[in-house]
């Protein structure tokens, strides 16, 4: 580092110290945020510059906190970066009134430093968003694969939305696990809510049925839409002796009769009768 650079750095540090109140006030006004957080950041920054090292870990930590806090309050990342850039303007006013060559030269260096820190808040914001998206994707995977008990010994998975290979695999594992846990010998995989299947997904469904058989349980697939039936036949996927039913209700009736439960359907028209208690 040259003597010039050293001197200009020192000058900025002096200004940050002597003009602290003025600069902070101006910055707070420009950033339109609470003074407390900015004061912490300001002091950490002044300390780092004063020690003449390039270690900005503390400053970055505080900025990350600011960025996250402001994101939670609904500020855009540009808002946050702009708030950080406000410090340049605040410091420039102090530099201008100082007027020395060292201070002006130092300001160029200081400005670059703040640019980096502003960008850093942007990075923090993006990382935080990414984490949220990943978490949500995982939660969605969990949410979108409920295994429900329909009857003693009969469980069902109503699949909704587009099936990809990963999700189908999760469903498969969860369904088989539920069969063991509940001691159910019948499972219904309902795909009424699935708009389309590809070869891989169809294969996964088939594998689920075969795996269930190996464990001693039977699967029925219900709610196959005409387009999906067409796809399956066109792709030449062999469904073999797998039982398929038009609706979840049909599948339940089938599973009930297989498990030896009788259901009697009255032929007469049913009338709902309600008595008012007096």
């Amino acid at each position: 580092m040259t003597a010039h650079a050293d001197a200009s750095r020192q000058r900025i540090h002096d200004l940050l110290t002597t003009e602290e109140e003025r600069v902070l006030q101006r910055w707070t006004a420009l950033a339109k945020t609470s003074g407390e957080e900015l004061r912490d950041i300001y002091q950490a920054l002044r300390l780092a510059i004063g020690e003449g090292r390039d270690d900005l870990t503390d400053v970055r930590g505080l900025l990350a906190e600011l960025s996250r806090e402001r994101a939670r309050q609904g500020h855009t990342p540009s808002d946050t970066a702009r708030a950080v850039y406000g410090l340049k303007e605040a410091v420039y006013e102090a530099v201008e009134s100082d007027g020395s060559a060292d201070a002006l030269r130092g300001f160029i260096w200081f400005s670059r430093l703040i640019d980096d820190l502003g960008l850093y808040t942007f990075e923090v914001y993006a990382t935080a968003r990414e984490t949220i998206i990943l978490d949500q994707a995982e939660q969605l995977l969990e949410l979108s694969t409920p295994v429900v008990k329909l009857w003693e010994g009969i469980v069902a998975v109503p699949l909704i939305g587009t099936l990809d290979s990963a999700r189908t695999q999760v469903v498969m594992e969860k369904l088989l696990q539920t069969l063991v846990e509940t001691g159910s010998e019948h499972a219904v995989i309902d795909i009424t809510g699935v708009p389309a299947v590809d070869t891989q997904v169809a294969q996964h469904l088939l594998k689920t049925v075969f795996a269930a058989r190996l464990m001693g349980a039977e699967c029925v697939i219900s709610g196959i839409r005409p387009q999906i039936a067409h796809t399956i036949v066109t792709l030449g996927i062999e469904f073999g002796d797998i039982v398929t039913k038009a609706s979840l209700a049909d599948a339940l009736a089938y599973a009930l009769s297989r498990s030896g439960t009788e259901i009697s359907t009255p032929r007469r028209t049913r009338i709902a009768v309600r008595t008012e208690e007096v």
Binding site: M172, L176, G183, L214, G216
Partner: protein, 121 residues
């Protein structure tokens, strides 16, 4: 070499595999079982694999062989308690157990054997 014990309950033979078997033990089990089916006149065999962590092609083949052999000796075989992860792996491996009957647990296995017998008579 480990030898798997064969238990007798009425006219059913029950084998519960509890350890990671080496191939030699698997072959020995096959022979022991055939002998026991004949000597006891058993009508059913239940192989409990609840504790088995993997079924590779060798053990898979043993299950199919035992079932085919027992059938010839007039005994029905049921494999019970296969874990989901094992079942998924077997399907992926491409191994079929050659029509071996399966049940979720020992109790359901016994019920399945009784059901088969009552309908076949």
């Amino acid at each position: 070499m480990e030898r798997v014990p064969i238990l007798k309950l009425g006219d059913i033979l029950i084998i519960s595999i509890q350890v990671d078997l080496e191939d030699q033990s698997v072959l020995a089990l096959q022979e022991d079982l055939a002998d026991r089916v004949v000597s006891t006149g058993a009508r059913g065999v239940i192989i409990d694999i609840t504790a088995v962590e993997i079924v590779d092609s060798f053990i898979g083949r043993m299950l199919a062989t035992i079932a085919a052999m027992s059938r010839m000796l007039d005994a029905e075989t049921v494999v019970v308690g296969m874990r989901p992860a094992v079942a998924i792996t077997l399907v992926e491996l491409g191994l079929s157990l050659g029509g071996v009957r399966t049940a979720l647990d020992l109790e359901k296995g016994v019920a399945l054997l009784e059901h088969t017998r009552s309908t076949s008579r």
